[in-house]
């Protein structure tokens, strides 16, 4: 692999939260939302309105196709409320309507919108490729090489901007690599990600080739997978079903981990003593990553559709409403964590909602952790005296429905 062919300016455009590619999620929100969310959380577990309006964002922001104009929206802010919603997927469904995966190759037909037994059957096909024991498969086949190649590109320079030069490229190279897409086409695919027919056009030859001759990659697993439908009949996945899977994995895999890696790196670079400890004792990297996930989860909001009238934590939710789940607020609920605003890697590790919760909990969470761990560890191995550039603007945490850092200018050597 060579990653030198990756166009730096293009990465900057695709992976700057403030750019046109990302501003529709509220990427230009630059205030600190946490004090606002703390006030909302303290005043009531559930409020009427979307998270972005309740946060005071002046424009329109969207995430996963929401808000929908014809549905009332509510937002939950406490750990207990989110836990209850995530664990009751009959009352709080993942889609406003039934999903028919045979009806077309689109994201809306992927398992993230399914419920109950249907979701369980589809998720079961890919879960074995994403369990912790498979992290080595991902690391050896795709992650390690990308990480080392990217560092090769700047290791002689004595400086880098790690958001563009490092974090942004690793997840997109990992997920496209696992699909059998060469690195020189990875950014093209990222650029057209919102255009499902175009993504399908690019994937079609690979799916056809893997049907002929499977390899050791993710598309091969999908073409070989057999699904038992509700009548007990077993069948292979159709092309449309594979494309829906692929669209989901590309969206989730290339759009999240780069931001969380940047958040983790920025948090550590802003704490040089802690970074020095981790450089000496890499076992500390795991709790540091877990704390970063709790402290600033990159996707702070997911949603559920209310399927029946219910009084929920003191608020009447009508059937048909959307409930925004503010996972970032729940992750700083003082009812669950002491001094929740502090970044403290020594705190007792326990589950947060960084990867969501309930049966839809993030499929790729162990791969994401492996990417972040491998990435930061390699930086510490190869860049002595890694530190923030004191003459450049320090990293700032920005974004509303997708949170990340502005830039990570560093010096080393």
């Amino acid at each position: 692999m060579t990653t030198a062919i990756l166009d730096r300016e293009r990465i900057k455009t695709l992976f700057d939260l403030r750019s046109a590619a990302n501003v529709w999620t509220g990427g230009d929100f630059e205030a600190d939302p946490y004090p606002i969310w703390a006030k909302l959380r303290e005043s009531a577990p559930v409020h009427e309105g979307t998270v972005h309006k309740l946060t005071g964002y002046p424009g329109e922001a969207m995430f996963q196709g929401l808000p929908e104009a014809d549905r009332p929206h509510f937002s939950a802010f406490t750990y207990a409320a989110l836990d209850a919603a995530y664990r009751d997927s009959e009352t709080f469904a993942s889609s406003g309507s039934a999903v028919d995966p045979t009806s077309g190759a689109q994201l809306e037909n992927s398992m993230i919108y399914m419920g109950g037994d249907q979701h369980r059957r589809y998720r079961g096909l890919v879960q074995p490729s994403f369990v912790p024991a498979k992290a080595q498969w991902w690391l050896i086949n795709w992650i390690q090489e990308a990480v080392q190649e990217l560092i090769n590109n700047f290791v002689e320079d004595g400086r880098a901007e790690l958001n563009v030069d490092f974090c942004a490229a690793i997840p997109v190279l990992t997920i496209t690599g696992s699909f059998g897409i060469p690195p020189e086409e990875a950014l093209d695919l990222r650029a057209v990600l919102q255009d499902a027919p175009e993504v399908v056009r690019r994937l079609a030859p690979i799916v056809a080739a893997r049907r002929e001759e499977p390899k050791d990659d993710l598309i091969s697993i999908l073409v070989q997978a057999t699904l038992k439908d509700e009548d007990g009949v077993t069948h292979h996945l159709s092309d449309a079903e594979i494309y829906a899977f692929a669209l989901l994995l590309l969206n989730a895999g290339s759009g999240t981990t780069w931001k969380q890696m940047g958040i983790t790196l920025a948090a550590l670079l802003q704490r040089p003593e802690l970074l020095a400890q981790i450089r000496e004792d890499r076992a500390l990297l795991r709790p540091a990553i877990e704390e970063s996930l709790r402290w600033v989860p990159t996707d702070p909001m997911f949603s559920r559709y209310v399927t029946r009238d219910i009084e929920f934590f003191g608020t009447e939710l009508p059937k048909g409403a959307v409930l925004h789940l503010n996972v970032a607020s729940a992750n700083r609920d003082p009812a669950r964590w002491d001094n929740p605003d502090e970044f403290d890697i020594t705190r007792k590790s326990r589950a947060s909602f960084a990867f969501g919760g309930g049966p839809h909990i993030c499929l790729g969470m162990h791969v994401a952790r492996a990417e972040i761990r491998a990435g930061i560890s390699a930086l510490l191995d190869r860049l002595p005296n890694l530190r923030l550039d004191p003459d450049a603007e320090a990293p700032r945490f920005i974004g509303l429905y997708e949170r990340g850092v502005t830039e990570i200018p560093v010096l080393f050597g």
Binding site: Y86, R87, R120, R123, G124, Q127, P128, F130, V131, P132, A133, K348, S349, R350, A351, G356, G357, G358, P359, I361, M365, H366
Partner: protein, 85 residues
């Protein structure tokens, strides 16, 4: 949390959350269902963190069997926790 932890295989999704918090106690079988490989692999506190973390409530503490990790339950489905954490 006296007793031993049990896995409900029907509920288990294979998310791997239990392996994050109690990696020496839990593993996955070939169907990506959680199994218990060493009932005494992690502290009872860590196993309890895993029980709390399971996104689909597939882990629970079963009463009885006390603190003796050599008694009760089958090794593949149960782990024991000490009392009083």
């Amino acid at each position: 949390m006296a007793g031993h932890v049990v896995v409900d295989r029907e509920l288990c999704l294979g998310s791997g959350m239990c392996l994050v918090y109690a990696p020496n106690t839990f593993a996955h079988d070939e169907q990506s269902k959680a199994i218990i490989v060493d009932p005494a692999g992690d502290s009872a506190e860590d196993v309890d963190t895993a029980v709390d973390a399971c996104p689909v409530g597939a882990l629970s503490w079963a009463p009885g069997e006390g603190t003796d990790s050599a008694s009760g339950g089958t090794p593949s489905t149960a782990a024991h926790g000490s009392t009083g954490v």
